[in-house]
Symmetry: C2
Subunit: 345 residues, 2 copies
């Protein structure tokens, strides 16, 4: 380790030290030296020198000159559930594997914050912008296309950029089927099944509601409007909605389709506060959380296949789809629906 450089080392400094030129040093350090016919000997000397002196490329200068930042941007609603946090982690890991730098920003499901974050990412000239669970993906996609950079949607689809999402309808159908199967096994009337959580205006919730409906329809079960309560995601909202439902109906639902782990939090809290036994009610959750699974092993969960979703995303980053309205659905996996489920484990 050499002594503290008072100023950051540049290729000009290295060129002087190596008695060479900045262009040569640059070529050596960015790996294009063979193409520029720099001798292996000189290359090695410069590389050693750079290593010894602790040189680090100024990415701003590189980005400016190359007109490519080497950065991938992602906006995300939140980090604080397993679904979104694993999206961030797997996205980062995959980008790192490819030597790409990532910037992730969470925007709290707030359209203004989404736009502002996108504006910043565009100012930093990210090469792609991944728009995850955005309230208004098309607005972001438009900003991106105006800036001439590609955008992709994840989790919630848009019409202005390609989207990778979960197979929400089919997933919801399967989750509902699992609930109905358990009711049948316990010979419980399937009339009182409640769908709770999510936003009526978001695509995923609408699809899941549709899947829920279809699964019931196929068994000739009617679904009342009051059985479907997209009361937003927040735990408190779900708590209040369940309270209201029980107030109206006079008793607990026999089964519940809970639309997210954050809604589940409210549901569970409400049940606990009321002194209800979790096992008296059959629950499914369209999302996955290992702690919840540990606490309540009879809870059925849909685990969205984040690895596959991210893999498809990178496929599109590598080779952009010709059709910008392309939509790809990835099937989630059902967890906790073992055959032994009806009995006590």
């Amino acid at each position: 380790m050499s002594s503290e450089p008072s100023r950051k080392l540049t290729i000009y400094d290295l060129a002087k030290l190596a008695k060479s030129s900045p262009s040569t040093v640059s070529a050596v350090l960015n790996g294009t030296w063979q193409r520029r016919r720099i001798s292996r000997k000189l290359a090695r000397r410069i590389l050693d020198l750079a290593e010894r002196e602790g040189y680090s490329t100024n990415m701003q200068a590189r980005a400016l000159r190359r007109d490519r930042s080497g950065i991938l941007g992602m906006i995300l609603p939140l980090y604080d559930n397993r679904y979104f946090s694993s999206i961030a982690q797997i996205f980062e890991a995959e980008a790192r594997r490819r030597g790409i730098f990532t910037i992730v920003s969470c925007t709290n499901r707030d359209p203004d914050q989404e736009r502002e974050a996108a504006r910043m990412m565009l100012a930093y000239r990210v090469e792609h912008l991944i728009c995850t669970g955005a309230t208004n993906p098309d607005a972001i996609a438009e900003m991106c296309s105006a800036a001439g950079i590609a955008s992709l949607n994840l989790d919630l689809p848009g019409t202005a950029a390609p989207s990778v999402i979960s197979a929400n309808r089919e997933g919801a159908r399967r989750l509902t089927d699992a609930l109905l199967d358990r009711l049948e096994a316990r010979k419980i009337d399937a009339a009182r099944v409640l769908f709770i959580g999510g936003r009526a205006e978001d695509h995923n919730t609408r699809e899941r509601i549709e899947g829920f409906r279809q699964a019931r329809e196929r068994r000739d079960l009617a679904t009342k409007p009051t059985d479907i309560v997209p009361c937003d995601y927040a735990a408190e909202k779900a708590q209040a909605a369940l309270e209201a439902y029980v107030g109206r109906e006079g008793r607990l639902p026999a089964a519940m389709f809970v639309n997210s782990t954050i809604s589940l939090e409210g549901i569970v809290r409400w049940l606990r506060l009321g002194g209800h036994d979790m096992n008296d009610i059959i629950m499914g959750c369209f999302d996955w959380d290992p702690l919840a699974a540990a606490f309540h092993p009879r809870l059925i969960m849909m685990r969205q296949d984040v690895s596959t979703m991210i893999a498809r995303l990178f496929d599109w980053i590598d080779t952009p789809p010709e059709d910008p309205t392309m939509r790809l659905e990835v099937m989630p996996e059902i967890i906790g629906n073992s055959a032994a489920a009806p009995g006590r484990g």
Copy 2:
């Protein structure tokens, strides 16, 4: 909205359009126009033009020239628990409030990934690097100081940069006290209390163990070495460690100090699998998760005060402490230890 610009708009384009000069346009757009005595009229004209044409400053160019990126970097072990995810979220929110851009990278508690992420952040010339829960904070601090940029530690302290951490020892003492109080209330022998989870080589775990010991000592309770099992954080490790403990002791511990929510996951799973009743055992967890709290309201949790920790961090970003080895401890809050706790709620 004007027609699609084929090339990204620059201050030179704007200068031409406004029949002005690049330096004037620059001054107007970065807010220094008053100091440079640009007339209000011209400034307005240029601002309107920039707005109309959808101009966006090239941050790479700005950063290069200013020699300041305007970026704050943070490395983080993971996103997938509430503690770290709220650190990321609150950090971002606070930075956004100040108009600072952030880059967060998670490094999976892997020293190599930590160094690599730090190297990248330094290459992008972040202005500060926050090192959260790093396995080797001093190594990162050294890299930073060699590059001439300030670093700060969060969650796990180092000796080469100022650190903001939780009051682990005192927090652990209080959590242990809560466990012992409950044992007393139930008139249960306090011999069989198990500390489980974490890494013996990390500072926080050592401090918590010390707090655990002290709380027992103050009640004249001896602590056997086998009562303390820092088996790493992973759920599987905790699961195996508990299994081993029970195998040795012939029965369950009466109470447990679980060192993280991820360890808690393994503990709860193991208890469930064995058909044990969660309420037969008094549990505390040094960390907080609202889903866990909802599922198990008698679980006592220490919620680390992330908001305060981040606030202190930004204090130091604003005015760096004179002493680089400075360490600040922020008291965590105990959750779920209400007076009504011993009875059924």
